[in-house]
Symmetry: D2
Subunit: 259 residues, 4 copies
């Protein structure tokens, strides 16, 4: 009998500011976007979910919470600058050790995503009446299982190319927008031991995180990003190896066989 799948501990992080200031946002997410995302993930038997938000102490990301987080999801927008550099540094270290990271929508400009990408992370955008159609360009990838060739979001903010990101390890989705733009809306990278998935949808003024296929992609993304690892020594710190004994003839041995 095969072993059971592991339980994955997920922390859903969000700014939770727009919801308090903008009635339009609050109408979609009265308890905050993080609650909607957390509830959707919590329906899966293999996911154990908690939430954390900007205005909690340590933004809700204490050492204890991070120690118990296998995968972190991140939504931020208006208050990127208020996220403490010390917390960003901790989260970055944890990603490099093996924690998975799902970056959502305007999180493309978060401190943590920019620090891990090393690139501009810029894009073009427009808030209008666009429909977004997300095409799957990597049909065998675990993140798109259960999604057909594409899925649609009836109204969303438009994000357009050029998206200032390093070449993704894997490109998953490309979005089409009514107004004439395209965007690499799902992509993955590895940094240190950490798996990172960027997923575009989720502007605060639309009910996007109630969309069943958006929820499915995030759940699949969490499972994909899970490594179970916390490797501190092989990747984070340069390591001096013990000196070799001096052997002037050792180098000569590789000289045969080549011309």
């Amino acid at each position: 009998m095969p072993p059971a799948k592991p339980i994955i501990r997920v922390t859903v992080w969000s700014e939770f500011r727009h919801e308090k200031k903008n009635p339009k946002v609050a109408a979609h997410y009265p308890q905050g976007m993080h609650q909607t995302i957390a509830e959707a993930l919590g329906k899966h038997a293999d996911l154990a979910v908690r939430t954390a938000t900007l205005d909690e102490p340590d933004h809700g990301l204490t050492d204890e919470v991070l120690d118990q987080t296998d995968v972190l999801t991140w939504w931020g927008h208006m208050a990127h600058g208020e996220v403490s550099d010390a917390i960003v540094a901790k989260v970055r270290t944890r990603v490099l050790e093996g924690m998975g990271l799902i970056v959502l929508h305007s999180g493309h400009y978060s401190k943590i995503f920019k620090a891990l990408m090393g690139d501009t992370c810029s894009l073009t955008w427009r808030e209008a009446t666009d429909k977004e159609r997300l095409w799957v360009v990597n049909p065998a990838h675990p993140i798109v299982q259960g999604i057909g060739p594409y899925f649609e979001i009836p109204a969303e903010e438009m994000y357009g190319e050029p998206f200032g990101i390093p070449t993704p390890d894997e490109l998953i989705f490309i979005s089409w927008f009514t107004g004439g733009e395209v965007f690499r809306s799902g992509a993955t990278w590895r940094r240190g031991n950490g798996n990172i998935f960027y997923f575009r949808p989720g502007h605060e003024t639309y009910p996007t995180y109630h969309h069943p296929q958006v929820q499915l992609v995030i759940a699949n993304g969490v499972r994909w990003a899970f490594s179970g690892l916390r490797i501190k020594d092989t990747c984070l710190n340069a390591k001096a190896l013990e000196p070799l004994p001096v052997d002037p003839e050792a180098n000569a041995r590789s000289n045969t066989g080549h011309k």
Copy 2:
């Protein structure tokens, strides 16, 4: 004083069948698509251009022609199956040795492209009233210099994802189509020593190869694909190295310094 740029010898290959059978195609390309492409390339002082077509002996791709070809462009559609396997094998060998290859539009299903990709090379398509807008997703790439953030073709056949290709070494263009589709319409790979660029536009019933920005991309692509190489021995054939003298102690020397 810096040296001059090299002259690049280009062979523009085309089926040249649709033009003879379909008046709609002949109206755009009375001398054949290859002539339109060759004339556009020939305006550049560093490109020396010839053409070759399916119905010439050896499809116009004799050893002499291939020996004098630095970069080959390929357009085919209705007669992929009539291209001789022996000629395809020769072209493939020449690419692996270092000849550049530009595959155009329906060439995605040519024998040579499929042989070099090892993938399905499939896609979806529709011939209708679509406009194609090609977005540059790699703005610093040599192939898109002189192109702005995007360019448009007023009417083209639609090609849609999923495009059954290996992960590109470089993704250059993503196309938007009026009807709601996207496509990775410019991408590069290296096989052996050969640089390969796939460029989507160019359905025979539209005047696409008269479009100045399509012409510029092809010229840029030729320069990018040029390697000047013809390396026969390092990549094509496995090579046995001379035996090493038996030295039972040699392996032990790498045992220090690691635990």
Copy 3:
């Protein structure tokens, strides 16, 4: 309670010729290399293993067997040319539909690997007294879990760069050899829906497939390559979409917002 992991059906394919002809090989593998590999995989509760060899009817790869194979491992060397093109075509189709493929050692020159890579697949080699030390360059990858920073094989055939392969999607191992060579000895690619893992060790005159870490890497590779997919229509065949109704104004709608 989380669901159980799926059972993965593995078919271990091998030429099974050297073992019959060369007593040195038979001494290591009296029942054939495939039996040694199959027994090692069979110890894992989530793997259901069968074998197939060249001299069985259809090389042991009937439609029925392929229909029940989630992941295929492939070892061949002296008889690549005797593998039927029809069987190779079937295996290739099955990989493109989603079957995983693990290519071992001299399988780099098998028809199936060359067809899927589209490259030369060439390398240099030497049979001597080399030790092989395989360094993990992707420590978080599932294929290397349980392997430390590196592992060693006391004596192996040397394979050296340049290895004529497309840029791997993921590079897993780089080997060091006593005689002065290096080799990308573990690498992955996706073709269609199929995950492919090439793993270098396994020359027939050494007891390599009895090595516990080689066995672990192959088991990890099988789990990594498993997709559970058999998708016939999205990737294998180009598909025409239904015509759009003519709408001369549709294209104009994307003209706003850009300059």
Copy 4:
């Protein structure tokens, strides 16, 4: 007659500290490593070379110098922490706009390389009697033209895997060391519009930058990294597009042709 190649303006940056403190280093580089590198580059008719060092005002990297730099080479080691964050930010911006960057040896831990990679950039090392043999794994790449299948440095510091870098866009060299290690010693990435090449050799206590093949690789690297670009607006800053007029029917137009 084809046009002449462009003149490339190179700035060779170095810490220039070890040379002043350690007689062993000064013996190899009495004027500093930067002078040796600059002299080697200056022999090429298409390269116009200047130098800059840590202890000059603004580390020698004033706005005027950066404005006139197409490609920057970077060597640092003992004083990474003394490089001003403001200068690093300027250099990073200039790379993202299109300046090429060649990072040498211990520059793997420089602020600028770490900022652009977003990864640990860690490795293992040992200063001993190792010979380094650098194997070319990408024989058609412009950076290795004129280099054979490999070249050797008789004595160098060892750097070993795992090297904590993002998946390279292109892998160029893999090094073999006498003591039993391997290393991805030549690799490229693009960030924004800037081409980045990391090249491993060059420990200060060895005469590595006098080695003719090391010099050739750096010159080839400079030419490869040159883009001629200084694009400020497409990649660096997110851009809002003009609002689209409200058109409730526009989204409906993409609904035909798909099911």
